[in-house]
């Protein structure tokens, strides 16, 4: 019996996955749980495992292809099964629509089982769109419907056939854009019916320097593209304010020294300042729930659980695993969890669940000669804490100059959700908590 292998939807924002590697060739036998291929999403690289056993009959995509979520990537079946030449189209993404259409979907599933080749059956589309698709011998795969609930209209499929980006462009403008690596889809066309003309491309051009030396060009794709898009989105849409404060780390250092052997013998991990700061942050967030909020649409959601995102630098990118319920974890467990997640992040082994649900993020650059900085908030969170190095500085204590280990904390907050005074109160209390970490025991 034919079984589809779908492109999994690994996060709410995931729309496409890029195929990185095939582990199986057509004709190979596949067992349940065996990885078939590896994909990269906007957040993670992941191996997609088989839910079925059988023979990999058909692969529809090549390495580097971008595959829409829920698209059929391959078929697994018996050696007598015949897989269709073109993959079946995407199911309705809308979950409510999917529930409402459950009986229809079942029928469609049966149709597939009966090896019907009309792969467009399951998609919402007008009869005219189906006719056009049939006449052009194409499927609705990847076609965005403009009608209600994503129903595909005749024009949608015509646009998809004529030009993927649905944009008119003159031949000359297309040539210049291709040559200069300009994405036509992002150019505003001023010609008739919005046609992109030469001048539009020239207006879109980056001012070029006279020197045309050979430079390395890295295309924004995969994780880099995901980071770029997210940063731009967050930086542009959130009114950031960053507060900084100096923290005297004398007692935190003492605390870590005292706990180091204890935790190491228990977990074999060495507790770091990151965990101590996480613990202090979680404890302070509990007193300041407004800082542990998410801003979604027109609502500020005060999160009950305190899940801390931990920004981890990976090769040419940044990912943020989430440590859940930090306020409920002891330092030993917290150390274990955060070290394991950090390692997984660096080796691209995080599962989507491990990256979901953070309510506040910590970005630690303390290993570099950095004091304060202005971290960018990880939406929909409303605040992020930037951690600098611990460095010995001359400070005035009780009227005399003494040397103390000082660390700068930088708190960026979303001014739509939090005002300056409560944010300052949170940061002040966090500073006090780190300066008197014994309070964490209370």
């Amino acid at each position: 019996m034919l079984k589809e292998v779908f492109m999994p939807k690994l996060s709410s924002t995931m729309e496409v996955g890029t195929l990185l590697e095939w582990f199986k060739a057509e004709g190979d036998t596949v067992d349940v749980g065996e990885p078939i291929f590896e994909i990269m999403t906007d957040k993670i690289n992941i191996e997609v495992e088989s839910y079925e056993e059988g023979i990999l009959l058909k692969k529809y995509y090549e390495v580097d292809d971008e595959i829409p979520v829920n698209a059929v990537v391959a078929y697994i079946g018996d050696k007598n099964d015949v897989a269709p030449e073109t993959p079946t189209a995407i199911e309705a993404e809308d979950e409510t629509a999917a529930t409402a259409d459950a009986p229809e979907a079942e029928i469609a599933e049966n149709a597939i089982n009966e090896e019907s080749l009309d792969t467009n059956e399951k998609v919402r589309a007008t009869p005219a769109a189906r006719r056009v698709a049939r006449e052009n011998n194409t499927t609705f795969n990847g076609v965005q419907g403009s009608g209600p609930k994503g129903r595909i209209h005749e024009q949608d499929i015509l646009d998809a056939i004529n030009n993927k980006s649905n944009k008119l462009v003159t031949p000359l403008a297309a040539k210049i854009a291709a040559d200069q690596g300009i994405d036509i889809a992002e150019v505003h066309g001023t010609g008739s019916r919005g046609k992109v003309v030469k001048q539009d491309i020239l207006n879109n051009q980056q001012p070029q320097t006279e020197v045309t030396e050979e430079v390395e060009r890295i295309k924004l794709k995969g994780l880099r593209k995901a980071v770029a898009d997210k940063m731009l989105q967050n930086a542009q849409s959130i009114p950031h304010v960053t507060l900084t404060t100096d923290v005297d780390m004398t007692r935190a250092i003492e605390l870590r020294k005292a706990l180091l052997p204890v935790i190491e013998s228990q977990t074999s991990y060495r507790v770091s300042y990151t965990e101590i700061i996480m613990k202090a942050t979680a404890s302070t967030l509990k007193q300041h729930p407004r800082v542990n909020a998410s801003l979604i649409g027109n609502e500020i959601i005060i999160n009950k659980s305190i899940n801390l995102g931990l920004a981890v630098a990976v090769e040419d990118g940044l990912i943020v695993p989430s440590v859940a319920n930090v306020d409920k974890l002891g330092l030993a467990d917290l150390t274990t969890v955060s070290k394991e997640l950090g390692a997984k992040a660096r080796h691209n082994k995080l599962t989507p669940d491990e990256m979901k649900g953070s309510t506040f993020t910590i970005s630690n650059l303390g290993m570099y000669a950095i004091d304060g900085f202005t971290p960018i908030i990880n939406a929909p969170e409303t605040a992020i804490l930037g951690v600098g190095r611990i460095v010995e500085k001359a400070v005035v204590v009780d009227g005399s100059v003494v040397v103390r280990p000082i660390m700068v904390l930088s708190l960026s907050f979303d001014h739509r959700a939090i005002d300056g005074a409560p944010a300052a109160a949170f940061l002040t209390e966090l500073k006090e908590c780190l300066e008197n970490p014994w309070a964490l025991l209370v």
């Binding site: 003159t170 031949p171 000359l172 403008a173 040539k175 210049i176 040559d179 001023t190 030469k198």
Partner: protein, 459 residues
């Protein structure tokens, strides 16, 4: 006082086209014309010259008939009947325009309009004076032949393009002062009529703004027909001796004088400022100064056509008229239209875009390809295979910067080049397109193929 959304001074190809477009846009329009609807183009320019050129072409064909194995024993023509036919053509077109004006509910006011700063226009017809008030004004006054103050010219008689198309007798000899488009077209007409034509041009070549290859080619062809062309020659004066006119000139310090029985002064045209003499509008040289939206220094007063200089062509004026109307009704039009240029000599010249020299000056890396019509099947069959098609394109993307055509029917063919440029097709698309065979126009795709190094008949 009657009020209008728009008053247009001048019913030539700039003014009447603007009037109809404005009416279509829902404006109330007054069109003021003091002389003939259709302006210079219809009455004293493009249309009469093209009509007489057609007459000349028929004569040429009769003369050529022997080449085709046809013997025409004797033929004659009547200049009177020719002028009559020309007037019939004009009247047909003029009543067409009148109909359109009426249909568009445009108020036609006959008489010269005097424009004031407050956007009132005073029109005097005979003893009656009519004053109208307009929200906007388009000055489409046009131009008139420019006659330099040559010594002795006014003492004798001479023609300009205003009078030559109503000539009653075909002269046996004609001196044409000015080797521009007007002078050359008229030279071709009279050359066919049997007149000995001598052209005197001050610049070092005829039609100095046009493509060098084209003007060289035309010079050769005209000379072959028996038209004498003296370039680099300056007129010094006119005299009358024994009822014959003497034209005195100087070339390389050498004095020459020609005896003739008719003179045509065709050195250029000058803006017609009738009715705006007292309007405090800013000028750029002798032309009314306008901005990109064709608005003059006075807000709400626009100027188009020959009055503002640029290409002094009917279709340029029409385009400007439409652009001005678009601005009045608030429709943005940033486009910089390509204006094709046509010379209806034998052979014709048609061009669009910029010349090779201009392209290089503008910093383009230019690649030029020229293919000759000598081997073009349709042209050979018609015994009119002298000419060429030239593509001036930017090297990297194949952007077509200019097209120059010389030969038969090229004024009808240039628009395929213009279309490619207007729609930003490149040499590649031009090479890709299928042209019918046999046609003269297929030379254009041949030129594109040759440009790309893929030429079939040309390399």
């Amino acid at each position: 006082m009657k009020t209008f959304d728009l008053a247009i001074i001048g019913g030539g190809p700039g003014g009447y086209v603007a009037a109809i477009r404005a009416a279509k846009e829902g404006l109330s329009v007054a069109l003021i014309e003091g002389r003939d609807l259709g302006g210079t183009c219809l009455n004293r320019g493009c249309v009469p010259s093209k009509t007489l050129l057609k007459h000349a072409e028929v004569i040429e064909q009769i003369k050529d008939a022997k080449t085709f194995g046809i013997t025409v024993n004797d033929f004659s023509y009547s200049i009177e009947n020719m002028i009559k036919r020309k007037n019939k053509v004009i009247n047909t077109l003029k009543s067409g325009i009148k109909g359109l004006i009426k249909q568009s509910k445009i108020t036609m006011i006959e008489g010269y309009g005097i424009v004031s700063k407050d956007k009132t226009v005073t029109v005097t017809t005979g003893n009656e004076e009519e004053k109208i008030q307009a929200e906007n004004i388009i000055l489409a006054n046009g131009s008139k032949p420019f006659v330099p103050p040559f010594p002795g010219l006014e003492e004798g008689s001479y023609h300009t393009s205003d009078t030559i198309f109503d000539i009653e007798e075909v002269p046996s000899h004609m001196v044409i002062v000015g080797g521009g488009v007007i002078g050359l077209e008229i030279a071709c007409i009279f050359n066919s009529f049997g007149t000995t034509v001598e052209i005197v041009e001050m610049a070092d070549r005829i039609i100095p703004n046009e493509d060098v290859d084209a003007t060289k080619f035309l010079t050769k062809q005209l000379t072959k027909k028996g038209i004498s062309i003296r370039t680099g020659t300056k007129i010094t004066g006119f005299k009358n001796e024994n009822g014959k006119a003497i034209v005195e000139m100087e070339m390389n310090n050498e004095k020459i004088s020609l005896e003739t029985d008719s003179i045509l002064v065709a050195v250029g045209r000058t803006p017609n400022l009738t009715g705006i003499e007292d309007l405090p509008v800013k000028f750029d040289g002798k032309f009314v100064k306008v901005n990109k939206d064709l608005e003059s220094s006075l807000s709400g007063i626009y100027a188009i056509g020959d009055l503002i200089g640029g290409y002094q062509l009917a279709h340029a004026a029409s385009e400007e008229g439409i652009k001005a109307v678009k601005h009045i009704v608030g429709k943005e039009d940033k486009s910089d239209m390509l204006i094709p240029r046509c010379v209806y000599t034998f052979p014709e010249i048609a061009s669009v875009g910029i010349t090779e020299v201009e392209a290089k000056k503008a910093g383009y890396k230019v690649k030029v390809k020229k293919v000759d019509l000598a081997a073009n099947g349709k042209a050979i069959a018609s015994n009119e295979n002298s000419g060429f098609v030239k593509i001036i394109a930017e090297e990297k993307y194949g952007e077509i910067l200019g097209v120059v055509m010389v030969g038969p029917h090229v004024t009808e063919m240039i628009s395929s080049g213009t279309a490619f440029m207007h729609l930003e097709g490149t040499v590649e698309e031009l090479e890709n397109m299928v042209f019918p065979h046999p046609t003269v126009s297929e030379a254009l795709t041949e030129a594109a193929a040759a440009w790309m190094g893929k030429g079939i008949h040309y390399s």
